[in-house]
């Protein structure tokens, strides 16, 4: 297992018309670490995650995954990555199991490895009841479960999950939490965003706060009243920017 950070961003910037985007972000996710991103809607969390996965190209700065520049990452590098950003890989016409088999093939597993990986994923994410149901007929939460299972079934070392608890029921949240803690303990580096500060505090080793496309500070996962600390950071930053404008 290499010592390079699973994800590494240096001075990463990508601006959209109107000023949105991210503006010069430095951020690492080490092996074995769960690094949480929190921020209000529009703070730049999803944009930053997209940059780490090559869904967007940076205007400036460097983005590396498993030590390799994202723009030059090859199949072997991407085989070590698992991600769910916004929409799960869950095709409406395919059953839960078929979607997982498709995900396994796309993540580079060979035919022999697919069956075992899919069986494990169905077991881990408690998808047995939905394995034979078309994804189009599944609830939002169960589609999300299929998507998370598909993103993680090849045991990736570098993981990006954007709001993974979206739509999940309380049981699903616990399954996800245990799954992430187990993978981090096995050496995976995980970047996860969430609006649920309590949930973040339960799993994250580090919590970074984004506001208006910049990192404005961090929260202590073991700290008291994270919500108050979060809003104090955001309001201070907003006030500072208003004063400078």
């Amino acid at each position: 297992m290499s010592a390079a950070p699973r994800f590494e961003g240096r001075g990463v910037a990508r601006a959209f018309r109107g000023g949105a985007g991210v503006h010069g972000i430095d951020l690492d996710v080490a092996a074995g670490e769960i690094h949480a991103l929190v921020g209000l809607n529009g703070a730049g969390k999803t944009t930053l995650m997209r940059l780490f996965l090559g869904m967007l190209r940076p205007d400036s700065g460097e983005v590396r995954v498993c030590g390799v520049d994202v723009s030059r990452a090859d199949a072997a590098t991407w085989a070590r990555v698992g991600q769910l950003v916004e929409h799960p890989l869950a095709y409406a016409e395919l059953t839960g199991r078929a979607n997982l088999e498709v995900a396994a093939r796309l993540h580079g597993l060979d035919r022999a490895g697919v069956r075992a990986a899919v069986d494990r994923a169905i077991d881990e994410f408690d998808l047995g009841r939905y394995a034979g149901v078309r994804a189009g007929r599944l609830s939002l939460g169960n589609r999300q479960r299929v998507g998370i299972a598909g993103a993680l079934l090849h045991e990736p070392e570098a993981i990006v999950l954007d709001e993974p608890t979206n739509g999940l029921d309380p049981a699903g949240v616990i399954v996800l939490r245990e799954s992430l803690l187990r993978r981090a303990a096995a050496g995976a580096g995980i970047l996860v965003s969430s609006h649920h500060l309590d949930e973040v505090a339960r799993v994250a080793d580090r919590i970074t706060v984004l506001n208006d496309g910049r990192i404005i500070g961090s929260l202590d996962p073991g700290g008291f009243d994270l919500e108050r600390a979060f809003f104090a950071l955001v309001h201070d930053d907003d006030a500072t920017r208003r004063a400078a404008a």
Binding site: L89, A92, L94, H107
Partner: protein
């Protein structure tokens, strides 16, 4: 792009296509629709319906297999391109409409491989449609009694699979437009554009050497189109297939 990556992409896309109701219903609509329409037009022409006779033009008096195949080709030259363009717009545009495109990043199977995998499956599907439509027309012809009255003319039926596949080839730009436009509707609009160009030019008897026009012109007036002109048609899927692969390679989720 590795060969293994393309193989996986083809397998995945084939699985999606086989499971999809869009592909199955498009196949059924085209094959059954063209068969029924051709049969109806022939029966109406035989009963002397003047409007139908006018639509058929020079084909009106042609007996046997040649007449049946001529009618089928006229319908297929437009309906085939529409069906193929819609299916292709769905294959590419649905990834954007459903949001699944985000899950196609960060994979060992490259996005150009996925785009080419879609095109490989699409072309294989068009061959299956060609075989099915030819089979249906053969059944209609035999039911009309051409098996005994015009046994020598049965060779004309071989033009049907050729035109079906050519129609599929000239619809490939829809895949590129659906990618650039990030959805189904731009691809369908491109398909309609292709049909208008092909049909208007063919009716005006121009453009035998224009790949988009040659199949429709060949359907109406086979003698007006040299065989070499039909061989130019694959330049469309080659050029637009390459553009598709490039567009998927450079794709960003910035809209």
């Amino acid at each position: 792009m590795s060969g293994a990556g393309l193989g996986v992409a083809v397998a995945v896309e084939a699985r999606k296509a086989i499971a999809s109701r869009v592909m199955a219903s498009t196949t059924a609509l085209l094959v059954v629709g063209v068969g029924v329409l051709a049969l109806g037009m022939l029966l109406a022409a035989a009963s002397g319906d003047e409007q139908v006779l006018a639509k058929l033009g020079p084909l009106a008096g042609v007996p046997g297999w040649a007449g049946l195949v001529g009618v089928v080709l006229q319908i297929t030259a437009a309906a085939g391109v529409l069906a193929f363009g819609v299916a292709l717009s769905w294959m590419f545009g649905r990834e954007f409409a459903d949001g699944t495109v985000a899950a196609l990043f960060g994979l060992p199977v490259s996005r150009p491989a996925i785009a080419l995998g879609k095109l490989v499956v699409y072309l294989a599907w068009s061959v299956a449609v060609a075989v099915a439509l030819t089979g249906v027309v053969a059944i209609v012809g035999v039911a009309m009694g051409y098996g005994t009255t015009d046994a020598a003319g049965a060779g004309a039926i071989a033009r049907i699979p050729v035109l079906v596949v050519l129609s599929a080839l000239i619809a490939v730009p829809a895949a590129w437009v659906a990618t650039i436009g990030r959805g189904l509707l731009p691809g369908i609009a491109a398909t309609v554009g292709i049909i208008v160009v092909a049909q208007v030019s063919a009716l005006a008897d121009i453009g035998a050497w224009v790949p988009f026009v040659a199949p429709a012109l060949w359907a109406i007036a086979p003698d007006a189109v040299p065989a070499a002109a039909l061989l130019v048609v694959p330049s469309v899927p080659l050029a637009f297939g390459a553009l598709c692969a490039l567009a998927w390679s450079r794709l960003q989720l910035d809209r």
